[in-house]
Amino acid sequence: MSASAFPPPVPPGPQVRAVTDEFHGDLLEISMGPHHPSTHGVFRMQATLDGETVVKLKPVFGYLHRNHEKLGENTSYLGSMPYTDRLDYFCAMTNNWAYALSAEKLAGQAVPERAEYLRVILAELTRLLNHTCLAGFLLQDTGASGTPLMYAFREREKILDLFESLSGSRMMCNFQRFGGCRTDAPADWLARAGQLVDGYGAFLDEFEALITGNEILLARTQGVGRLSAALAVSAGVTGPMLRATGVAYDLRKVDGYGIYPRFDFRVPLGDHGDTYDRYMIRVLEMRESIKILHAALREIPAGPVMDPKAKLRGFRPKPGEAYGRIEGPKGEIGFYLISDGGANPYRYRVRPPSLVNLTILEDLCLGHTLADTVVILGSIDIVLGEVDR
């Protein structure tokens, strides 16, 4: 099948008029405002259009700003853990891990081996559910009204059921602690997780049969929103969006945090950096996650899941600072903690991948139509809980 039957998308170039301060009566300024089904949360794009083509686009956000960082300064280290669930609310387990990693770096706290395996299992399950959600949402944004989204959500429910039976809550898991995990995963939970992972490959095959070769998807996403590798690196883009441009930077390989060096997985890279590549990278990453999950579920050792010297209450790291980061499903999520020796951190900073990935939204959208803007935003994969904190 080829996309040659459809006209190619308008490339940016001489067609884009420079917007100056003069009054252009024929340019339309619209606000794809915070109440919008396709903006992935309360997110606003002030777009100036020449006909259908975008000539200027400014993202406006802050509608979900809950001053999480100030709350972090007024709450103890343990008390901030449930708040990290609510940053990127799809990926609670990885947010928890990033925060626990940074606090453990700050305090020099060790983590037992079983806890590290359990963290990897939960993080890869989170990656599966996040990328499944993204595939569903992206297709919803292109107008495939509901079907791929509902298939994706049906599969995601199985992972959420696993999280519910382990941590008590589907999304707001509050599961990692400084020095390990809150509770242990019983053997039957690991067996159910193994069953889910075994069936996930079949789901991905069916999903790809549904949509990956679909000509409408190809026409709407190939060549749309091209990002060059140089701009991506300079703009601090991380995660699947960076790897779609061809830069091989995956923190699981680069930092080798936790026990990731023990697992044998590949890092898929894209060629063009367009929307279709970003979508396909995520599908391929899901297949790699399945490999990691098989290995981790097979090799998880017995033992405690919490370091015996770790303190639940009264966690007071010595004065100092630390920046810890992990490869979350959306990119590099990092926590910068400054401790002054007290029960609360002196400075508690979240480095949100969605916010930094949005830096080049305007660059990607210039010259494309308004409909493409929705698809490009969908492929960046933002969650406003993280952008605004």
Partner: protein
């Protein structure tokens, strides 16, 4: 040929559509509220206070108003005021109790930190979510009467956890009783030795009985 991807997708949709009539894996809807899914045992939503029995909930609360959960609660939705007097708890020891124990469940985010830090297994997570009220403020502030639920209810919703807590508390109680018995036995032995020393004034001074370490408890000995 152009359109083969579309046709392949339509075949998948057709398979799911036909499958939803006979395959439970394809149709995953349950007709709530007539049909309810079984919640996993670990599911948590809003805390409750455990009292030992249902007949006297306020008198048998495990909570001793130590206020640790109040300090650790991240959104600070718990309010505790200690009582002025003490009451005996399940092991017979005199403890304070909470005169006021309020949780504002419009603020509570069910994070379970209060449960984790409680040293007395007095507060546990409930599983209620069908608690919509008609009034926005007062009905969402639960006081200790609304929060107290008996231990039998705890066994009903979290059977494995409740069994483990009961076993641990019983073991702790037994260990405390053994220690009390040993201390009492040592005390009577010391008192007897003192009486013997007082009855023989010309005898050389005996070392004070308090210096002697208490012996092992008599198996089955009485206090």
């Amino acid at each position: 040929m152009l359109g083969s991807g579309l046709l392949q997708g339509l075949a998948v949709t057709a398979k799911n559509f036909v499958g939803s009539f006979h395959d439970p894996a394809r149709l995953t809807t349950t007709e709530y509220p007539e049909v309810r899914t079984k919640l996993p045992e670990n599911y948590r939503n809003f805390p409750f206070l455990v009292s030992e029995n249902a007949e006297d909930p306020m008198g048998t609360l495990r909570c001793v108003a130590c206020q640790i959960c109040e300090k650790e609660c991240p959104p600070q939705c718990i309010l505790i005021e200690k009582s002025k007097d003490k009451k005996p708890d399940a092991a017979g020891k005199l403890q304070l109790y909470p005169a006021v124990f309020d949780i504002d469940i419009s603020v509570c985010m069910s994070c379970q930190i209060c449960v984790e830090v409680c040293p007395f297994d007095a507060i546990k997570m409930d599983q209620v979510f069908e608690i919509a009220t008609g009034e926005r403020f007062n009905a969402l502030l639960l006081d200790r009467h609304g929060l107290a639920k008996p231990n039998s209810y705890y066994h009903q919703i979290h059977p494995a956890e409740a069994a483990e807590v009961d076993a641990r508390l019983a073991a702790e109680r037994q260990a405390a009783e053994e220690k009390a018995r040993a201390a009492a036995a040592a005390k009577t032995a010391a008192a007897a030795a003192k009486a013997v020393a007082a009855a023989a004034p010309a005898a050389p001074p005996v070392p004070p009985p308090s210096a002697a370490p208490p012996g092992p408890p008599n198996p089955g000995g009485s206090a």
